[in-house]
Amino acid sequence: MTLFTPEKERELERLLGQIQLRHKPAFEELYRLTSANLYGLILKIVSKPDEAADVLQETYLKVWRNSDQFRADLGSAWGWLCQVARNAALDRIRKNSRQRELDTSDFDDLLNALEAVQPDLVDEADLSRCLQQIRQEMKKPLLLSYVYGMSHAELVQHLNAPLGTLKAWIRRGLMELRACMTV
């Protein structure tokens, strides 16, 4: 949980800048710094390790090929890397029509870790503070979607709530989160 410090963020930005110039040692350094975190993230969505390893490989190849899409002026390098990895993982699970076996046993621990304030982390106070402010029924589907890549249908099954209600919770939760984070 050290990737999000301002120093690490600047380091990732620097490496991505060099990767844009096709600098392979920078790419290797980026892999060394981030692969375990991204693999952990992917494993939450694609639970089979061999498939998750494929997705990780795909992620880094996309980072290498599409590094020019990284915009340091718009947002965080870690955020961009996570988006590339999550998109690749979501593509993988949406392609497999069979039902996934999801392990969400660590969800409460994750939620507690997220809500604990750690002032050395970039933007952390924002998200932690805002997560504490939104209601549980909104927070849960938001984080289940984000962490485990749950679709609406999976959320309906997991939370045993009607689809319409669930969509309303997500929509409202996102609106409240945004309003809180842009104060």
Partner: protein, 242 residues
């Protein structure tokens, strides 16, 4: 109003960006959102806002060491050597050049066949009045299924025909229901049950009218359009019909 213009309001941008980053969009909607992101700097900024804020969640996930083979494969791909370890078939291929010769021969046979006029040209889509390129929610870029609609001519009744994209995997659509979404009102009309292996599906005047006025066709597993939709695609007029 241009198709992409209606997305350019702050509310719609916020909705699209937040759901894109959250990951609740289907693959099809995600692809559509990505093309809008490339065309709209404000939507792009909104996406970056969400991905930067929510990335904190990922930092709370326990890191896991990936297998060493991942990096080796990446390096091999970057060096243009494909995967680091060739698969069984690749190794066999390299070992038996006779297979290469056999494949070359087959390629020649196929090439010759291409120059021979086909006795039964592909009929679906040729002379059609409307077509819909139907796309499922998986991540493939190419539409998987073509629905072609032919207006009644002479003794031939109005009809629908279905043809699969040979580059995509087929699935059984037998018994699924086809719906048309009206381009002006958004009203949904049930066009009937599909039989994949039957002759073209005949259409009544009411069904034809619904198809003609539709912006989109949807194939769903259930009796309503929201009940497990399997394929959807814009309905395009390609001939002047009355």
């Amino acid at each position: 109003m241009h198709d992409s213009m209606r997305y350019r309001t702050p509310e719609v941008r916020q909705h699209l960006a937040s759901h894109y980053v959250l990951g609740t969009q289907t693959a099809r909607v995600r692809r559509r959102t990505e093309s809008l992101i490339n065309a709209d700097p404000q939507l792009q900024a909104e996406v970056w806002f969400w991905q930067s804020k929510l990335a904190r969640v990922n930092s709370a996930i326990e890191p896991q060491t990936p297998p060493a083979s991942v990096w080796h494969s990446i390096v091999a791909q970057l060096d243009g050597k494909g995967t680091a370890q060739p698969g069984v078939w690749q190794r066999l291929w390299q070992r038996f050049p006779i297979w290469q010769a056999t494949t070359a021969l087959l390629a020649i046979v196929l090439a010759v066949q291409l120059f021979v006029p086909q006795p039964e040209p592909l009929k679906v889509g040729v002379g059609a009045d409307y077509v819909a390129l139907m796309d499922s929610d998986d991540a493939d870029l190419a539409p998987e299924l073509i629905v072609a609609a032919y207006l009644s001519k002479g003794t031939e009744p109005s009809r629908l025909a279905f043809e699969w994209n040979d580059r995509s995997p087929r699935s059984d659509i037998n018994g699924l229901t086809l719906f048309a979404i009206d381009k002006d009102t958004g009203a949904v009309t049930n066009l009937g049950t599909i039989a994949d292996d039957s002759p073209p599906m005949l259409m009544s005047k009411v069904q034809w009218k619904a198809l003609k006025n539709s912006s989109e066709l949807v194939i769903a597993e259930g009796d309503t359009i929201d009940d497990k939709p399997r394929y959807r695609g814009p309905c395009i007029q390609i001939a002047r019909t009355s």
